[in-house]
Symmetry: C2
Subunit: 90 residues, 2 copies
């Protein structure tokens, strides 16, 4: 594996709802699973993943750019809890 | 940690689009990141996560129930690639 500053870096951004924020999609899934007869019905929570693949930047720079993308576009700090971490490219 | 059959088990279901299926949300994010001046613009892909928390079932049973939920409700095998794996409860 080449560990140069110029390799491709994937950063995974995971966006969840903060505790206390209603997760309407999760509630809908729980209800549907119950209606389908799946037992026990699980408690459901949802998250949204964005994988950002940066060409030719270091892990450190990719993380910084991903955090900027989160702040300026992807997440709403009032309702979202966000984790950002570089991953090995698939 | 108690490894009994009756503990709570969390199963994470990750739903992605199959290669070749247009990811409209990802394309929209790429475009917006470019307009915001983030450089280099990353390639974006998205995924949806459902965490299913089953009370009082074994990991094996929880995985089976989650796979049933995927087949009957959560995913469309024509367009989705799905991974299902038990995780440690948060």
């Amino acid at each position: 594996m080449v560990r140069s500053a110029a390799r491709t870096t994937d950063v995974e951004v995971r966006i969840e709802l903060k505790p206390g924020v209603i997760d309407a999609e999760a509630e809908s899934v729980e209800k549907s699973l119950g209606l389908l007869g799946i037992a026990p019905v699980p408690r459901v929570s949802t998250a949204r993943i964005f994988v950002l693949r940066f060409p030719g930047v270091s892990r450190r720079e990719a993380r910084r750019l991903a955090e900027e993308a989160v702040e300026r576009l992807l997440a709403n700090p009032v309702i979202h809890r966000v984790t950002v971490h570089p991953i090995e490219p698939a």
